[in-house]
Amino acid sequence: MDDSAKRLLQRFMRRIPTQMLKTTLEKWSRLTVAQQKSLDFTQSKWALTEALLDICEENKWTTKHISELEMIYVIDNPNQGMWHAFQLMDPEDDAHSVELTQFKEQFKSHLSELIRHVSVKIKKHTDEAVWIRIAWGDSYSRPNHLKPTYVVHYLQTPYVFVTSLTSKQKPLLSQALVLSTRHHAIKDANLSGKKFTAIRDLLMRQYQQAFPTKYPSPLKEKNQTVSNPLIEREQAGPAANRLQMACEAFGDGMLPQLQSAVYKLETKFRDQTNKTMTEREESFRCVVKFASTNLLESLRDCASSGIASTPVTPLLSSIPLKGRNYFVITDNSPGPSSQMHQKTDG
């Protein structure tokens, strides 16, 4: 067992919480029953690491095997690190028929054409997600397994989710992805966050959206609490209306746990009470960041409680609608009646 494999295992052991170790090792399914039994999970992490190192030594396992273990852990616990979403553009005609084996081969061969030392591991998760672990090296050094990039892609969809990617590696990965998924280009989707599941669900539309229907909406039924006949809400109608609009803008029920959204505003300061500033040529520069444990639910509550006016401004409803959480806002034209305009950053 070489040094890098050892360090990889040590680092993995530092990262994983002890209570998760057992199930992860079981999923790895490389340990024999006897070996599995020999591990005492009540022991300290340090002792467990030593025991595992011994087993690895015995079986002559290499970084290949250890990185497999790491991958299993990451797939099961994807909400770590910073995830960025990318969008594949202009699909070719056969983009829809790309299947896994073909994609695997293509991706590996394209990437290794671009860079000599690279180690790629591809694994398909039960929810059809293709997980790719890339350990990068450069022309002189062997792949560094301690800083792998993880890429998740659902075949036939235009979205790719990436974590721990440096700007140097980005063009390489982009090219390999574009070629192997039969697309022409890839762009930044301006969505990032710590929770992988949140940004995935948002882009894949795997959350409950509310739409206007002519049937009595389940929203109303849900909120009809049995109340005392002596108590009457005077503004129950407007309140229900606000809730409906809030749900239409941000979604219904449990929402993806997006934690932040950033707006860079470079718009003119317009305030009827402040002539000096309104007449000023330059735009008013500021950055606004919204943060919450669940941003969409917070914003929905803002709208339904009336703190945010309804109908919800397109600026806020763009988060779920466009699946983005980074916006640069500029005025369309310098004219007085210019509209707010959203522009992607380059």
Binding site: N228, I231, R233, E234, G237, P238
Partner: protein, 184 residues
């Protein structure tokens, strides 16, 4: 603009009707639940976020005997909303049928200026100003008790007492030095 009028409808028998106005719609619900528990009289509670009240409820709405503005001192919006709602009340209400109830007054984040502003407002309208604790059941019970006392009088259910008389005794006053700077 439709004004809410105190005497446009006939009173019900042994009934008192109270309107709780709170922009945050938090405390009013627990207060309402406690208020309707009253057994001596039938208490009808109407809840509103702000005034004016919707026209379509005009028919079903009983005569409102007491209007309570609940103001959360930690929120500027709460005060502004209450202030804006006042103009939709008939002047007749200010003869003892309006009171202000302030919550979160003990929180350090509540600026003293805001409390001063509420006090000035209450004093200028000759209304009583009540302080309530909205987080604890005890606080809710206390606030309910005090509201019921005023409500019964303003609904004319207490012999020998009128709303105007009570409000003369309980209305908020402003200390004469409220605007004096402390130093500097």
């Amino acid at each position: 603009m439709s004004l809410l009028k105190p005497f446009s409808k006939l009173p019900g028998l042994n009934t008192a009707n109270i309107l709780l106005v709170e922009s945050e719609e938090q405390f009013q619900q627990s207060l309402a639940d406690a208020l309707v528990e009253e057994t001596a009289v039938t208490v009808n509670v109407r809840l509103a976020k702000s005034l004016p009240l919707p026209m379509e409820n005009e028919e079903s709405r009983p005569r409102i005997d007491l209007v309570v503005f609940i103001i959360n001192l930690t929120s500027e919006l709460s005060f502004q909303s209450a202030e804006a709602s006042l103009k939709y009340l008939d002047p007749g209400y200010f003869l003892g049928k309006v009171c202000f109830m302030v919550t979160n007054a003990r929180k350090a984040s509540a600026p003293t200026e805001r409390l001063d502003a509420v006090r000035k407002l209450a004093a200028s309208l000759h209304c009583p100003l009540l302080f309530a604790e909205d987080q604890t059941p005890d606080g809710v019970a206390n606030a309910t008790e005090r509201l019921l006392t005023i409500l019964k009088v303003s609904a004319g259910l207490v012999p020998m007492a009128t709303a105007l008389y009570l409000s003369n005794l309980t209305r908020c006053t402003v200390p004469p030095d409220i605007d004096q700077p402390s130093f500097d």
